[in-house]
């Protein structure tokens, strides 16, 4: 392949000449250290290359060799429970071999070549198979059945198929193609990261991804196959929200991309996930998780790739028919990596120094999410739900990354510094946030949760909206100006905020709330509001309505464990009794 020579080094960007045969996005090996790089720009025989490793000590004259292939991932059994860096190098095995820091130029295959997997065939000799068909399965973890698919470019009649233990590179199936040639399939396939994996048809999502987070599921639900953004200033809890979603979302597979954030946050994930149990399967959460880590101290060029690495792995599992959720924390760091590379490439800067193609790159990432009809002869469907954190400097979402993201995503969970300051977590601002899926999902909620769900949701939103209007009046002329009905509305809104929307991620019970419990909780609070209004109409004093003893129990309803939801009936009865007693005493 083409061998060139370095003529310029600028941080993680190098320029090499003599690269006549090279093509855009080819992976190259730089210098005698064999550092991994990728071609970003070609001018004549000069190539600009972003190097995914530390470039100190490099100088002009050193060799650059093209591998002739774009940056590709190894896809096959062994991805689950792994932790990779931005270009899919296995961090656990690098640690075992080279210690705490990634040694420069280290070469290790992404998937373990020695591990044996029990392959059980799904196709039989004589079957016609083509791209996307499942030829066999491997139990990758106790909860994930890895489906081995025919890779792109392969099709034919099954000539022989293996059963039993095999390594990822071993031939498990031999096909006879239409031209009579034999094709050997292994359990592993490669896919270039910057190219979306194909599917048959993109569908409109109609079911939600249940997250167990009340403010999200009730007020701003995300569809399975949807895209969401979480913008918020520093310390407003983006990472905790992302972690909560990674822990409790009802997706089959979680891909968590730690992109330019603190190393400790990845450590939290690594420590917590093996200890937490998935409410649906009873297995630890790690058994369905793939981690991509490019923490803030790792090379910036690999950060740019990490997002693509994550979404390609997600697409691979989607193609098997799974529902996958990918969390990227944070896309702002990724955009900063783009900006850094763009600056070194001497491109004309756009807004705030970000490259002019920022929004198209962000769109490319989010557009790879969605609910699809997968390739293959069975009618399987897979979904990718993408959730990106955005860290706008100073919390001002008018900056380019937030704006470009908002143009694409349909769910916006805006975190507010003010709420975080008041210790209201998750600090998702209910007035600012929105979900454009809620109309499409309303039917699902009616069928699967309760016919009154949408009505309760709308009522909750209305009360919160009314509260903010009333607060304006209170700020201007004081509480005295409000009538009793309005004051009760404010009290109910307070209850919604404190007893419902506020959710403690670190409490064993409160951390996850099923939809059924959400319904019961919401109904309880709104019933209190209705009964309170009835009592006021009957002449009961506002203070008596506010100080009903049952409110203490309403406030603690969030700590009712999922297996004793019958307690809600008791609280409802108590509420009705106390309200009746007040109304009777009130007189008329």
């Amino acid at each position: 392949m083409a061998q060139g020579k370095i003529i310029k080094v600028a941080g993680s960007l190098i320029v090499a000449e003599g690269m006549t045969d090279a093509r855009m996005y080819d992976v190259v090996r730089v210098s005698r250290h064999h550092l991994i790089g990728e071609i970003l720009e070609l001018r004549g025989d000069k190539a600009s290359i972003q190097v995914y490793e530390e470039t100190s000590g490099l100088g002009p004259g050193e060799p650059v060799e093209s591998t002739g292939a774009p940056l590709s991932l190894e896809l096959g059994p062994g991805l689950i429970e792994s932790i990779f860096d931005g270009i899919q190098r296995p961090l656990q095995r690098i640690y075992e071999q080279a210690g705490d820091r990634i040694t420069r130029g280290i070469e290790l295959p992404s998937l373990d070549r020695q591990k044996q997997w029990a392959f059980s065939p799904k196709a039989a000799v004589g079957d016609e198979v083509s791209h996307g068909d499942i030829i066999g399965t491997v139990q990758e973890s106790p909860v994930i059945e890895h489906r081995i698919m025919v890779p792109k470019g392969f099709a034919g009649t099954v000539k022989s198929i293996h059963r039993g233990l095999a390594k990822v590179e071993d031939t498990v199936c031999v096909l006879t193609a239409a031209d009579g040639k034999e094709q050997h399939l292994s359990m592993m396939q490669r896919w270039p990261v910057r190219q979306g994996r194909p599917y048959r048809e993109k569908l409109y999502p109609t079911s939600p991804m249940v997250t167990g987070q009340r403010v999200i599921d009730t007020l701003f639900p995300i569809a399975s196959g949807g895209v969401a953004a979480i913008p918020g200033p520093f310390g407003s809890g983006k990472t905790v929200v992302q972690h909560q979603l990674a822990k409790w979302a009802d997706a089959d597979i979680i891909v968590y991309v730690g992109c330019g954030e603190r190393g400790n946050e990845m450590t939290d994930v690594l420590k917590e996930f093996p200890e937490l149990h998935d409410p649906r399967t009873g297995e630890t959460l790690m058994k369905r998780t793939v981690l991509i880590a490019n923490t803030s101290d790792m090379p910036v060029a690999a950060r740019e790739a990490s997002i693509y690495t994550g979404i390609t792995i997600a697409e691979y599992y989607r193609d098997m028919g799974y529902s996958v959720a990918i969390m990227a924390d944070s896309t702002s760091r990724w955009a900063e990596a783009l900006r850094e590379m763009s600056g070194r490439l001497e491109e004309m800067p756009g807004e705030e120094g970000y490259p002019a193609y920022l929004s198209s790159r962000i769109a490319e990432f989010y557009e790879r999410a969605g609910l699809v009809q997968c390739l293959g002869s069975d009618d399987r469907r897979g979904a990718i739900t993408a959730i990106g954190a955005v860290s706008p400097p100073g919390g001002d979402i008018s900056e380019p990354v937030s704006q470009a993201t908002l143009r694409i995503v349909k769910v916006f969970w805006g975190l507010s510094a003010q709420l975080a300051y008041k210790r209201h977590f998750p600090a998702i601002d209910w007035l600012q946030s929105y979900s454009l899926y809620s109309d499409n999902l309303s039917e699902w909620f009616t069928d699967h949760v309760s016919p009154e769900w949408n009505e309760l949701r709308a009522k909750t939103m209305r009360i919160l909206q009314e509260e903010s209007e009333l607060e304006e009046i209170v700020r201007l002329v004081g509480t005295d100006a409000l009538g009793w009905r309005d004051r009760l509305t404010m009290e109910v809104a307070r209850s919604i905020r404190e007893d419902y929307l506020h959710q403690n991620a670190f409490d064993d019970v409160d951390t996850y709330t099923s939809l059924q419990k959400q319904l019961l909780m919401l109904r309880l609070i709104l019933d209190y509001g209705d009964k309170g209004q009835m009592a006021l109409d009957a002449g009961v004093n506002l203070s008596d309505v506010i100080n009903m003893p049952v409110r203490e129990r309403i406030g603690r309803a969030k700590y009712v464990p999922e297996d004793s939801l019958e307690n809600f009936d008791k609280i409802e009865t108590e509420l009705a009794d106390q309200a009746d007693a007040l109304i009777n005493r009130g007189g008329y």
Partner: protein, 113 residues
């Protein structure tokens, strides 16, 4: 009754009985609950003018503030048997402060003293 001015009176029976003579609906009330209920009943019957003795008004401040807010009801405190205890004046003063932001009645009070 529609052509007449409807009135109500709430408080100690000795005081309000006199109002009965001029056609007011009188409801004797000496506890907080009784006062609240009386005010609610009059308000529900859309009685636009309610006289309440100062002693009764002091017992149920919450109910007074509620019916003060209602646009079609006026609640007027009246002195009880022992004369005024300053409740009415106090309310006027509070309203003046709210309206113009300063207590302009101070001087007048002092002059009176």
């Amino acid at each position: 009754m529609a052509d007449k001015l409807r009135m109500g009176a709430v408080g100690e029976a000795d005081v309000i009985l006199a109002f009965k003579a001029i056609g007011a609906m009188t409801i004797p009330a000496v506890t907080a609950d009784e006062v609240t209920q009386a005010l609610h009943r009059l308000s529900r019957d859309k009685v636009p003018l309610i006289f309440i003795t100062e002693a009764a008004a002091r017992m149920a401040p919450e109910a007074i503030s509620r019916y003060e807010q209602t646009p079609d009801t006026a609640v007027i405190p009246i002195p009880g048997i022992g004369g005024s205890d300053g409740y009415g004046t106090q309310r006027v003063r509070e309203n003046v402060i709210k309206a113009i932001g300063a207590d302009i009645l101070i001087k007048q009070d002092r002059n009176e003293e």
